[in-house]
């Protein structure tokens, strides 16, 4: 393979606008700017956490990286191949290596297919195996996700949420991918089951040398599983850093507010805890505020924030922030 030790995934200035149309001629009157210029890299074997509120574009970003949407502009390099430039068939072949685990384990499994069919289907589609080979591989995959092999003949409704998510994981693993997008894989599960699935994902990563993009809104779980964390707001990345940096020394006011809103299972924590409560809701991505998109809810915004769109700057090694209020030099660490 011509690929040598660079990042596994390199996203360059990716833009995904969904047109808003009106009238019989479907004249375009605007656009939902779901992803609006995102650049990032994901190293081999790394887990990049992607957090943000609903509607901030995190799922769209994930899907656009996989070319499930045709991006408006920008590039996605996978092992140095630009996925956005590939013809459908070569892209389909590449997709074997890029898989996805979905949020809702109830909606993402076909209720009329048995577990064997669900997990075996990707192999059939790519003609990678047939008959007995598939059965053998399905058993192997069920083993891998710690489900009993005798379940292969059952239907999704016979399983609990956590077990269904394991089936979804097995399906994603069927084609030996190197990169998996986990789109809120644990949000729909109960607390005691969440830990089981997260542990499974971590074990698989180690065993199979997988690279993850882990999308979630649960910041504490993201910190647990990620190596680096990207914080997204209204289609742009506002902060990107090592997992500990983001939590110990958050620089963007949005990240600070997000962190201070996390419920912590310790009543002592609330004794002298001053929550930063953001006012209002996330603005519409069809008409984002000028300049900094966060300025309408930002506690420290000034007039200048409406003028310039802040760029993602490297404040300290590996710590990127998009805020003009953050001083350019080394910032003193403060307790937050």
């Amino acid at each position: 393979m011509s690929f040598n030790n660079g990042p596994l995934i390199r996203v360059e200035d990716l833009v995904m606008h969904f047109p808003i149309t009106r009238g019989v001629f479907r004249r375009q009157v605007g656009a939902i700017r779901a992803v609006d210029g995102v650049s990032l890299e994901i190293e081999q074997g790394e887990t990049l956490g992607l957090v943000g509120e609903s509607g901030c574009g995190k799922t769209t970003l994930g899907r656009t990286i996989l070319q499930l949407y045709e991006p408006t502009s920008g590039h996605v390099y996978f092992e140095d191949t630009d996925l956005t430039q590939l013809k459908p068939e070569p892209l389909r072949q590449k997709r074997k290596r890029l898989q996805m685990i979905f949020q809702d384990p109830y909606a993402s499994l076909n209720p009329r297919m048995t577990v064997r069919e669900i997990i075996g289907d990707p192999m059939l589609a790519f003609g990678m195996a047939s008959g007995k080979e598939i059965d053998a591989r399905v058993s192997e995959l069920l083993d891998l996700v710690k489900l009993d092999q005798k379940y292969a003949g059952r239907y999704p409704h016979e399983f609990s949420g956590g077990q269904r998510q394991r089936i979804g994981v097995a399906r994603a693993l069927a084609l030996n991918p190197s990169f998996i997008i986990c789109d809120e894989p644990i949000s729909a599960l109960d607390v005691s089951i969440q830990a089981q699935v997260v542990n499974l994902l971590e074990d698989l990563q180690e065993e199979l040398a997988l690279t993850y993009l882990f999308i979630a809104h649960d910041l504490s779980m993201v910190r647990h599983i990620s190596d680096r964390v990207a914080v997204m707001y209204l289609g742009v990345i506002v902060e990107l850093s090592d997992r500990n940096d983001v939590y110990i020394n958050p620089l963007h006011p949005y990240t600070q507010a997000l962190l201070s809103s996390i419920p912590v299972a310790d009543p002592e924590y609330y004794v002298d805890h001053q929550r930063i409560v953001l006012k209002g809701d996330v603005p519409s991505p069809a008409n984002p505020p000028s300049g900094c998109r966060f300025r309408t809810r930002c506690p420290i915004a000034g007039d200048e924030c409406a003028e310039v769109e802040p760029e993602l700057r490297e404040i300290s090694p590996g710590h990127f922030v998009a805020c003009i209020k953050v001083p350019g030099k080394e910032v003193d660490t403060q307790d937050t």
């Binding site: 005691s192 542990n199 809104h217 504490s220 201070s260 419920p263 929550r275």
Partner: protein
């Protein structure tokens, strides 16, 4: 001396399903004092919502059936009074907010209409008085330009705003008790923080008692005075909030707390996970319902279901084992 507002004793609720009788709530007893916030924590299907719905007789009957128990509100048993009487209690004395503000609001009625209705019905206000009061209520819950927004429909509000409207409706008649059934589960963390702050502020201003139902041990830590943990239709541990988090004494509570990632911890380490799944509730358990998942399980757990008993000052637990020593209590 604080006044006891709600005293629930031995509540049992069943559901008749084609697969058999589901024992959703199996003899739950708890109390709520004036000005107190009780958190009820548990995973889906543990009976936490059904418990509170049963108290207000809001469980759909059939298939539901309240088999036994009392729910004394002040001096009346809510499970024994007539349909007319309980109707006057709901909304006027005990308000309720639900998890999903979109499905609990009527999509084809304006917010104004939905807000004024209980005021006219319960308090006998005139249309005009009710309108003014509605504007005032929306102001209290922090909706800007309230008078303009009365004629809007629910879809024109965001998720957080809808939950604010739900709270305004629940507060409309100044109830003594507010039952909040996972009110922030469908919301983003920043909006969740807004709603929690709002409820804390309203609690202080209006002095109401709150029952906050949730699966989130974090939210409960920030708002409750006392917490009851439920599993398989039983309360398995109950304690003042600080005691519960500092010294959880039921293996399930311990497991739940340990399976949360610690936001303060820096090194990556493996999460603790509770093996297996919650049981289905088709038969009355004669063993401890948590026994199959419990790391501390002993012989007695398989033959007798432990009842909630005190282990310290206002700390109760339903477990045969003292997990500090690993021996039978």
């Amino acid at each position: 001396m604080t006044n006891r507002l709600l005293d629930v004793k031995g509540l049992e609720t069943h559901f008749n399903t084609p697969e058999g009788i589901v024992h959703a709530v199996n003899g739950v007893s708890f109390t709520l004092d004036e000005g107190e916030t009780l958190g009820i924590v548990g995973e889906s299907g543990c009976g936490k919502s059904v418990t509170m719905l049963s108290c207000l007789r809001l469980v759909p009957m059939p298939p539901g059936k309240i088999v036994a128990g009392q729910a004394n509100y002040k001096d009346r048993d809510l499970l024994a009074i007539s349909e007319d009487e309980i109707r006057k209690v709901r909304g006027a004395h005990i308000g309720m907010i639900f998890q999903d503000p979109m499905t609990s609001l009527n999509p084809v009625m304006t917010i104004g209409k939905q807000l004024t209705e209980p005021l006219i019905l319960h308090l006998g206000l005139t249309e005009k008085q009710a309108r003014n009061r509605s504007i005032e209520l929306l102001g209290i819950v922090g909706i800007p330009r309230a008078s303009d927004r009365l004629k809007d429909y629910p879809h024109q509000y965001s998720g957080g705003m809808r939950q604010r409207v739900m709270i305004a409706m629940a507060l409309a008649c100044m109830p003594d008790i507010l039952i909040a059934d996972e009110p922030t589960t469908a919301l983003d963390v920043t909006i969740q923080a807004q709603i929690v702050e709002l409820v804390i502020q309203l609690r202080e201003e209006l002095g109401m008692s709150i029952v906050w139902i949730t699966h989130d041990l974090g939210v409960v830590a920030s708002i409750a005075n006392r917490v009851a943990v439920m599993y398989a239709g039983f309360i398995i541990e109950e304690a003042p909030v600080k005691k519960l988090y500092a010294g959880p004494s039921h293996p399930y509570t311990v497991g739940l707390l340990n399976s949360l990632p610690q936001i303060q911890v820096q090194e990556k380490k493996r999460l603790y996970s509770i093996n297996g799944m919650p049981p289905t509730l088709y038969k009355i358990p004669h063993a401890c319902p948590f026994a199959p998942r419990c790391p501390w399980v002993i012989e007695r757990c398989w033959s007798e279901n432990p009842l909630l008993f005190p282990i310290g000052d206002s700390h109760k637990v339903a477990c045969w084992v003292d997990i500090k020593t690993g021996r039978e209590r």
